[in-house]
Symmetry: C5
C-alpha cells in the first residue's frame, strides 16, 4: 500500500506546498506593505511618544511559538490518529477475509459476498466523512439482497456493519461456523465499529474553536505590529526580517488549520480514495477475483486524493 | 454522527468565543487602566528608585508560557479523553446491539428491550456527570420490570449495567445463548463499565488544585505588573502592547480552566445531549424502530449542548 | 464516585494550597532577605569587579523552566497513572461482581463472599501503599475460612487475589461455572493483578533521584543569586520581582515533588480512603447489602484522604 | 537479539555520524563563506541603512528551535514506532511457533513448514519496505506447494499471511486442532496483519510535506542571514559562533529528515536485515533445525543494515 | 515490592548523585579554568576584534535547552518503558501461577515445577540483559528434565518460554486442562514473550547515535565558550555563573546518557536483581514454598542493583 507520490522535487515544492503558501500570500503581502509604512513613518510617530521596541515582541513571539507548538501537536495528532484509523481499516479487512477463508475453505461465493460488504463499508465511510454522495459505489458493491436496506438507511455505513453481523449470524445458524469461530470474526467486526466511530469523532469534534481563534488572532496581530517594532533598529532590513518571521508563524498556523481536518480533499489531507482502492485490491486479490482495479496514482499536480 | 455546527463564521466568532472573552473582559479592562496609570506615574516613582524593566519580565513571561503550555496540555488531554470515552460509548452500543441481533435473529422484542437499557444507560450517565435530574429520561426508557430497581438505587447508572448483565444471564440460563456468546457480549459490558468509570474519574478528580492556583496567580500578577515594565520604553504604546500580551496569556489560561471540566454546559464543553440523541438514533435505526428522533441541532447561539 | 470536595473558594485557597505554600515559605523569606542585602550592597561589591547582570540569568531561567516543565510532566504523569490505576480498580470490581451475578443468579451468599474478598483487596492495597496497618480492615472483611491464610502472609494483597482465584477454581470444580465463564472472570482477575503491581511500581520506583536533585539544586541556587542580578536595574523593585519569580519556580518545583508520590496523605495526594469507600458502596449496592456505608466527605480543611 | 555494534568510539564517531555531517558539510561551508563576507562588508552596507541586529534573530531562533523540537519529536516517533513494530514481529513469531509446538507435539514436519512461512513473511516484508527484489529469499524459504501462488501475487507479503491462515484452517478441518486452539493462533495472525499494515503506513505516509518544507526553508534562511546579524557585535568571532549555531540547527534538521524514513539502508535506519536473521535464528532454534545462520554483524564501517 | 532504599538524605545525596557528579567533575573543572583564562585575557584579545557577547549565547543556550529537553524525554521514556516491562513481568508471573493453582488445585508438585520455570525465566532474562553468566541461577532453578535443553541453547530465555509451552501442552494432552484453560494460560505466555522481546529491543537499539553525538558536542562546546561571552559583563563573577550554567547543562546531558541504558548496574539503573528476588518471593509464597528468600536490600552506598 505504498501511496507516496513519485515526483520531481521542484514540482512537488510548487504543487504540494502551494496548499499553504497561497493561503498566506495575501497576509504576507500585507506584512510587506506594513513594513514599508513602518520605515516611512516611524520617526514621525515616535516623536509623539508612540514607541515600539523589539524586547516585548521577543517575549510575545516566543510565547506564541510555544502555544503554536501546542496547536501543531494537537492538529498533527488528529492527522496521525485519522491515518492510524484508516490503517486499522486495512488491517481489519485483511484479517476478516483471512479468517473467513480459513474457516470456510472452498466456499468462494460466500467469501466474495462478504468481501463485497467489506468494500462497500470502506467506500461508504469515505463518502460519509467527505460528505459526498456514495450512491454509485453502494450500487456497484452491495449485494442485491441488502441493497435496499442499506441505501434507504439514514446511517448506511453502520447498517453495512449490521449486515456483516447478520451474515455471520446466518452462517452460525446454519451450522457452518461454530460459536467460537463466530466470536473470532465478531471481534474484528467490533474493530470496524471502533474505526468508523473514531473517524466520526475526528470529523465531528474539532479542536475547541476558542484555541483556533485565540491563536489565529494573536499570530495575525503579532505579525501586523512586528514591522513597527523592527523599523527603528533594522531600517531598510525591516521588510526582509518581518516577512521572514511572519512566514514562519503564518505558514505553521495555516498548516495546523489544514491538518486539523484530515478527511478533506486538499493536498495535505488523507488520500481516502487511494486507500479505498488499496483495500479493494487486497480483498479482490485474496479472493483471486481478477483483474484487480489499478492502484490510485497522483494526479498531474502530484496529489493523491 | 456529525455534530459540527454549521454557522456563519462571524456569528461563530461572537457566539463561541464569547465563552472565553467575557470571562477575561474585566481583567483586560483592569489591565488597560493599569497601563494608563503606568504612563502617568512612571517618571514620578522611578525618581524614588522604584524601577521596572522588560528584561526580568521577559524571563518570567517565557517561563510562564512554558508552564501554561504544560497546563494547556493537561486540560486538553482531559477534554480529549472525555470525548474519546463518549466515542467509545457509541462504538460499544453499536457493537452490543449488532451482537444481539446476530446471535438472536428474528427476536425483535428482546433486541428492543436490550436497546432500551442501553439508551437509558447513556442518558443516565449524562445526568450523573452534569448533576441534573435524570428521572424523566429513566421513566421514558427503562423497561417496566427494572424501573423500580433502577430508580431507587443511589447509583442508577451502574445499576443499569447490572440489569444488562442480568438480562444476559437470563438468556444464557434459558439456553438462548451459549457460554461463548455470553462471553463476547460480556466483554462489551466490561467496556461500558470502563467508560462509565472513566467519565466519573475525569469529573471527580480535577487537575491538582495547586497547579491551577499557582498559574492563575502568576498569570494575573504578571499581567498586572507588565504595564509598569513597559511604560518607560513604549510610552503611549504601553496600553496596546500590554493588553495584547495579557489577552494572549489570560485567554489561554481561561480556556484551559474551561476545558478542564469537559462535562459542563458551556459552549466549549462536550455536547453530551447531542451524543445521547446520536446513540438513540443509531440503536433505533438498527432495530427499525421508526421514526427516529431528530438529530440535535445547535441553538440560536450555534452551541450544541 | 464524585469525590470533588464542595467548598468556599477562599477556604480552598487557604486549605489546599497550604500544602505548597508552607513548604516554600522559608525559602521565599530567605529570598526576600537576599533581596534586601542585594539592594544595600550591590554598589559596594560591584566596585571590586563582582558584577551580575540579568542577561545570563535570562538564559539560565528559561533553561531551568524548560527542564522544570519536563519534571512537571514526569511527576504529573505518575499522578495520573496512579489515578487511572485506581479508576481501573473501580471498573474491574464492578465488572467482576456483575459477571458473578450474571453467571450465578439467585446465589446471594456466593456473591457476597466474593464481594468481601474484593473489598478486602482494595483496602489491603491502600494500606500496603501507605505503609499503614491494615489488620482492622482485613479482620472486618475477609471471610473466616481465608482469614488466617491472608493475615499471616507477608504479601496479603497478592494472597487475597490468590484466594479469589481459588474461589473461582472451586466453582469450576463443582460444575457451577463452565471453563468459558471461568475464563471471563479470570481475565478480570488478571486485571486486578496488573493494577496491584502497577501501584507497587509507582510506589517503589521514584523518578531517578539525580533528576530531582539537579533541579532542586539549580532552582534553589538560581533563586538565591537572582536578587543580585536584579538589584542594579530594579533597585527598590528587586524584592517584589525576585520573590515573584522565585515563587513561580519554587512552587512548581515543590508541587512536582509532591505529585511524584501520589499515594501519600497530603492534600494533593490521591484520596485512596474515599476510593475504597466508593468501591465498598458500589459492591454492597449491587448485592442489595444495605445499609451502604456513607460516602467519604472532605474534612474541616476540605481535604479528602 | 542484541544488535548493538561493538566498536571503537572514535571510528563510531567518524563512521556513524558521517551520515549527518556529510549532508550538511556544504551548507556549513557556505555559512563560513557568508561569515567572511559579513565581516568584510557590514560597515559598508550599514552606511546605507541596511542593519541587522541579534534581537530579532534571537526571537526567530528560539521559535525555530521550538518548531524543530516538534519535528524531531514527530520523526523520532516514526522511528520508534517502526522499531516497535519489528519488535512485535519477533514477539509474534516466537509466540506463534510456541503455540504450534505446544498444540501439536511431536509433529516436527508441520512445525517446520509453518516456521518456513513465518520466515518468508519477515523477509518478504523487508523487501517490500525497501523496494528490493525478494525473489531469492522467497525461493529459498516458501514451501513448494505455496511457491507459485505467493510469487505470482502482486501482494506477496499479504498472500503469505493468507497461506498461514489456510494452513491453520486445514489443521482444523482434519481435526488436528480444535476451534479454540484455532482461535488462539488466529489472534497472533491478526497481530502479523497489524504489523505488516503498520509498516506500510509508515513507509507510505510521510510527515505532511509542508512541515518538512517550511522548516527546511526557515532553518536554511535563518543560518544564511545569521552572520550578518552577528558581525557588528562579534567581528572576528562571527565565523565561529555562526558556524556553531548553524551546525546545531542544520544537523538536527538533517537527522530528523533521515529518521523520518526508518526503513532505508543509511546508518541511522533500522537494521531490517539483521532483524530478519534474528527471527530466522529464533525459529530454527525452537525447531532444533541446526545449524543456525550466523547472527548479522556490523560491516567495516560498523553499520548494521 | 517496595524497593525504595531507606537512607539518610545526606548520604543519599553523596551516594546516589555521585553517579552523575563524578562524570562531569572533570569538565566542570575545565570550565572553571576557562573562566579564569577568560577573565585574564578578554581585554587583550578584544583589542584584536575578537569579541563574544551574551546575546548569541542566549539564543544558542535556549535552543540547546529545548533539544536537551527532547533528549531527556527520549531517555526517560526508555527508562520508564524498561521499568514497566519488568513490572509486567511481576504481573504476569503472579497471574500465571494464580491460574495454574485455580485450574489444578491440590497439585502442588506441578505448580512448583511450573513456578521453577517462571523463576528461571526472570533470572535468565536478567543475565541476558546485563550480559552476565546465568549458569549458576539456571542450575539452581531449572527442573532436571529441561536442564540440558535450556543450558545448551544459544537463546536460553526463549527456550525456557518454549518449555513452559511444552509443559502446558502436556497438561492438555493428558486431559488435565481443557483447550479453553490452555488458551487462558497461553495468553499470559504470549505476554512473557512480549516482555522478553521488549527488553531486548531497548537493550539492542539505542537512541540514534547521531542525536547523542550532536547534543554531546554542542553542550560541550557551548560550555567551553561560555566564559568568554560572560567575562566582559560579569568580570570576577564569571566563574560562578559559568560553572553554574555548565553544571545545569552537563549534569542533565550526563544523566540522560545514563538513563538511556536502563539495564546496567549503575546507581540510576533498574535494580533487576532486586526485582528477580521479588518475583521469587511472590511465587514461593503463593506455593507456600517456605522459607522465602530475604528481600534485596540496598548496599552500603544505598544502591540496589
Amino acid at each position: 500500500m505504498i501511496i507516496r507520490p513519485q515526483q520531481h522535487w521542484f514540482r512537488r515544492l510548487l504543487g504540494w506546498h502551494g496548499s499553504v503558501l497561497p493561503h498566506i500570500m495575501f497576509r504576507l503581502g500585507l506584512n510587506l506593505a506594513m513594513s514599508v509604512i513602518a520605515i516611512l513613518t516611524y520617526q514621525w510617530y515616535q516623536g509623539f511618544g508612540f514607541r515600539l521596541t523589539i524586547a516585548p515582541f521577543s517575549l510575545l513571539g516566543v510565547s506564541i511559538a510555544i502555544f503554536l507548538g501546542f496547536r501543531n501537536n494537537a492538529s498533527y495528532a488528529r492527522f496521525i490518529e485519522a491515518r492510524v484509523l484508516w490503517g486499522s481499516m486495512v488491517i481489519t479487512h485483511r484479517s476478516l477475509l483471512r479468517q473467513i477463508k480459513s474457516i470456510l475453505p472452498q466456499q468462494e461465493q460466500a467469501a466474495r459476498e462478504f468481501a463485497a460488504l467489506q468494500m462497500a463499508f470502506s467506500w461508504s465511510l469515505k463518502h460519509q466523512l467527505r460528505e459526498t454522495n456514495g450512491r454509485e459505489d453502494l450500487l456497484r458493491l452491495v449485494p442485491e439482497r441488502w441493497r435496499n436496506e442499506v441505501m434507504n438507511s439514514p446511517l448506511p455505513t453502520n447498517r453495512l456493519l449490521l449486515c456483516m453481523g447478520t451474515w455471520l449470524g446466518e452462517q452460525r445458524s446454519k451450522g457452518a461456523i461454530s460459536d467460537i469461530l463466530w466470536q473470532s470474526v465478531d471481534a474484528n467486526l467490533n474493530q470496524l465499529s471502533a474505526i468508523m466511530t473514531g473517524c466520526e469523532r475526528i470529523a465531528g469534534t474539532p479542536i475547541p474553536f476558542a484555541y483556533t481563534l485565540i491563536l489565529h488572532r494573536t499570530v495575525y496581530l503579532f505579525c501586523s505590529l512586528l514591522p513597527f517594532a523592527l523599523a527603528a533598529d533594522l531600517h531598510f532590513m525591516t521588510p526582509l526580517v518581518s516577512v521572514f518571521i511572519s512566514y514562519t508563524f503564518l505558514s505553521l498556523e495555516s498548516l495546523a488549520a489544514e491538518l486539523e481536518e484530515p478527511f478533506g480533499e486538499e493536498p495535505n489531507h488523507l488520500p481516502l480514495n487511494a486507500m479505498c482502492v488499496t483495500i479493494e485490491r487486497n480483498l479482490r486479490d485474496m479472493n483471486d477475483d481478477l483483474p484487480l482495479p489499478a492502484p490510485a496514482l497522483p494526479d498531474s499536480n502530484f496529489v493523491l486524493n
